[in-house]
Symmetry: C3
Subunit: 142 residues, 3 copies
């Protein structure tokens, strides 16, 4: 037997940067508590933000993500043609594709089976991206 | 109860670049219409092409993907040892790993629950990659 | 009907670099042999290592991954603030996020449906990362 749960979540608007959203997600899909083995699929319905998993403790890690990635994929890159939706727009599309917009996380005994230091980041690549929409889909066996 | 469907899809050969394949995929796995909640897993069985999700409208976005990524991971990178399968080969391997070859997409009420601007890209990294093979696996509950 | 299997795997410690672990994984979850259609989810419970799929044959490909990525995300990047856990630490966090820590692989007729040249890489980004922990979750229909 397997159960399926699905829930839409609208995150608050975040500034450009990397933001821990593990709690938002866990609190939004408490239904997973009944699953002994399962998967939580987290899907971000956007093209200028992303998702990843990384360190949940020291915030300087998230600061360095912003510094490095903004330099790697810069706003002033001279050869963009798509440059009329803001200087942060085309870099945001590229960053979104590099980081990705979907994560699959294992569920074990009713909880996300993350490693000790792992947290889920919303990667907001625009200066004013607004509230971002996630779709959470969980499935597994009791 | 959950249903599983699986289908092989051979895409047409594409030139190097980023190509929208959302319709190819939707038309290949119409069985998902019966699923109220589910997941579509899209898997590319190659090492020199990739998959990602990004803007489905303005084609200049896809043009800029090609410009930027070809400059980030260039054909003339002098320190490659693996340089005997064509100058586009080793860069294609790296690009494939950065973008990834698998996507998990939520299904809701019989359709892919993509955001308004989201499309699925085949990222062809070789100049003559030939037809690329996908395996689509869908599962969920009616 | 669908079946779920889940297994923890501790990999041996690897040096910094890209290492084929397809066999480790296949041998750890032989239960998938009963699944006609399914998915194997591979999840790495770390923030300074990653997973990807790429060429399983010529080892020079993996050597060039190491050369290129170490140059793209260098240890001596001057603007890191998080620089007190070793010069290889903050670059390892970034690499882990770029490559990702989860893979979803289709199962067909009891086997991973990888393309001919595809293998699963453990990407060890630290010089002394130690043994890395994976959680394998498989599900599907007989």
């Amino acid at each position: 037997m397997s159960d399926f749960f699905q829930k839409s979540v609208q995150l608050p608007a975040f500034p450009q940067g990397y933001h821990l959203i593990t709690s938002y997600i866990e609190q939004s899909i408490q239904e997973i508590e009944v699953l002994q083995i399962g998967i939580l699929q987290v899907f971000l319905q956007h093209t200028s933000a992303g998702l990843c998993i990384n360190e949940n403790a020291d915030p300087t890690v998230r600061k360095d993500f912003k510094t490095f990635v903004n330099e790697l994929i810069p706003e002033n890159y001279p050869r963009f043609v798509h440059n009329y939706e803001g200087s942060d727009d085309m870099p945001a599309h590229l960053k979104s594709a590099f980081f990705g917009v979907n994560l699959s996380l294992p569920i074990r005994q009713g909880k996300l089976a993350l490693g000790l230091w792992q947290g889920i980041y919303l990667c907001e690549f625009r200066h004013e991206g607004g509230p971002r929409n996630l779709l959470l889909t969980a499935y597994g066996t009791k």
